[in-house]
C-alpha cells in the first residue's frame, strides 16, 4: 500500500516508522525545514520537504497513486484541506485526519473528512470505559451509516432487570446483540433474562443513546455523562 503522511511531528513520524516496518511504501511531507532535516537521515527518500496543502507538493509526492492519505499536522485547517484535496481532487479512496482541537470535529464532519481522529476524544472514550459510573461506552460509531454499537452496564433497579429480552420494548432502531455475564459473552435469545450486573451490547441508530440508557439505569433515569 502507498501511504502519504502529512506532518512529521510526533504522530506523523511514528506512524510513518510503523507503516514502513510493516512493509508499506510511505512518503512523509513536512513543511518545517528544521524538522525535515532532523528526520531526513532516518527516513531518507521517504520524507519530503514542503507544504502538504500545496497541490504541487502533493503531486511531487505522487498523490495520484496514493492508496491512503493521512493528515496529522498540528493544524486542523491544514488537515482538513489536505484530506479534502486528496479525496475530491485526486480521488484518493481512503483518508484519515487528525483533529487537534475537539471543537473542530464538527467542521471535519461537515466537510466529509472522515474518519477524523482526536486524541482528546479517544482518551475521553477510555475514561468512559474505565470509569463504570458513566455506564455507557461507545464501542463503535459508523458515522456515514448513522449506526453505533454501545455497551451498557445493567445497574440495580434498572427497568430491564429480571425481564426477558422479548419483553423489553426498546425503541425502534435498536437491538441487543450480546450480553456479557460472568466474564463470558453470548448472543441472547428472546427468552434470555437480563440480570443486574450484565453488560449489554446494543446496536442502534445514532441519537437513540439517551432513550436506550433509560432502560438500563435505576429508576429509568438516563445515566449522566
Amino acid at each position: 500500500m502507498y501511504v502519504i503522511v502529512a506532518g512529521a511531528g510526533k504522530v506523523g513520524k511514528n506512524l510513518a516508522r510503523e507503516l514502513i516496518a510493516k512493509g508499506h511504501e510511505v512518503t512523509v511531507i513536512e513543511s518545517s525545514r528544521a524538522r525535515y532535516l532532523a528526520i531526513e537521515e532516518e527516513f531518507e527518500h521517504a520524507v519530503q520537504y514542503g507544504d502538504a496543502t500545496e497541490l504541487w507538493v502533493l503531486e511531487r509526492a505522487g498523490i495520484q497513486r496514493a492508496d491512503l492519505v493521512i493528515a496529522v499536522t498540528g493544524d486542523d485547517e491544514d488537515n482538513i484541506l489536505v484530506c479534502q484535496v486528496a479525496k475530491e481532487k485526486y480521488l484518493c479512496d481512503r483518508i484519515i485526519a487528525r483533529v487537534n482541537n475537539p471543537r473542530n470535529h464538527d467542521h471535519f464532519r461537515l466537510l466529509g473528512i472522515q474518519p477524523a481522529v482526536s486524541a482528546t476524544d479517544l482518551i475521553l472514550r477510555l475514561i468512559e470505559h474505565e470509569v463504570p459510573r458513566y455506564g455507557l461506552v461507545h464501542l463503535l460509531a459508523l458515522e456515514e451509516e448513522r449506526l453505533e454499537i454501545i455497551e451498557l452496564e445493567v445497574t440495580a433497579g434498572a427497568p430491564v432487570v429480571g425481564e426477558r429480552v422479548s419483553d423489553i420494548s426498546l425503541p425502534e432502531g435498536s437491538l441487543i446483540i450480546s450480553v456479557l455475564r460472568g466474564g463470558a459473552g453470548f448472543v441472547p435469545k428472546s427468552d434470555t433474562v437480563i440480570e443486574e450486573g450484565d453488560e449489554v451490547l446494543l446496536v442502534l441508530d445514532t441519537g437513540l443513546e439517551e432513550a436506550i440508557t433509560a432502560f438500563f439505569a435505576p429508576g429509568g433515569q438516563p445515566a449522566a455523562f
Binding site: 496543502t53 493544524d75 466537510l111
Partner: protein
C-alpha cells in the same frame, strides 16, 4: 446587504470600510482586538458610531461566527492571513450556514483555481501580482 468579513488586516479592514460607506450592513470578526483600530483609522467617527459591528474571536469558533451574525449574512468574506483558514471557514459559511456568496482570499493560485471550480469565489492577489509583473516586463507597445 449584510456582509460578514473575517480577518481585518489591510485588505479586510479596507473592504469593510468601503462596504459600509456603500450603505451595506457590515460585521467584522477578527481574533486580534487591535484590528479594531485599523477600522477606526482615517475615519472621522469610530467604527461603531458608523454602525459597523466588530467581534473578537477566531474564525473556526462556531460561537464567534454566530455572534458576528453569520446566520443572516448575505455575503461572507474570508480574508485572514491564512489560505487554509480562509478556505475552511468559507466552506463552513456555505455548507453549514447557507451563506449564498462566499468570497475567499487565496494566495496560492493553483488552489484558488481548483476551489473556484468547487463553487467558492476566490480572489488571488498573487495572480494579480504575477500578471502585473509580467506586463511590466513586456516592452512598451505604443
Amino acid at each position: 446587504m449584510f456582509v460578514l468579513i473575517v480577518g481585518a488586516g489591510r485588505v479586510g479592514s479596507a473592504v469593510a470600510k468601503s462596504a459600509l460607506a456603500a450603505g451595506h450592513e457590515v460585521s467584522v470578526l477578527d481574533q486580534d482586538p487591535l484590528s479594531h483600530e485599523r477600522l477606526d483609522a482615517g475615519q472621522d467617527r469610530s467604527w461603531e458610531e458608523a454602525r459597523g459591528q466588530f467581534t473578537v474571536g477566531t474564525a473556526l469558533e462556531t460561537d464567534a461566527l454566530i455572534q458576528a451574525g453569520i446566520e443572516r449574512a448575505d455575503v461572507f468574506i474570508a480574508s485572514t492571513a491564512g489560505d487554509n483558514t480562509n478556505l475552511v471557514i468559507a466552506q463552513i459559511a456555505q455548507k453549514r450556514f447557507g451563506v449564498e456568496k462566499a468570497i475567499v482570499r487565496v494566495m496560492d493560485p493553483a488552489r484558488a483555481d481548483w476551489y473556484d471550480e468547487q463553487g467558492l469565489q476566490t480572489i488571488s492577489p498573487t495572480k494579480h501580482a504575477i500578471d502585473m509583473f509580467s506586463r511590466a516586463l513586456e516592452p512598451e507597445t505604443v
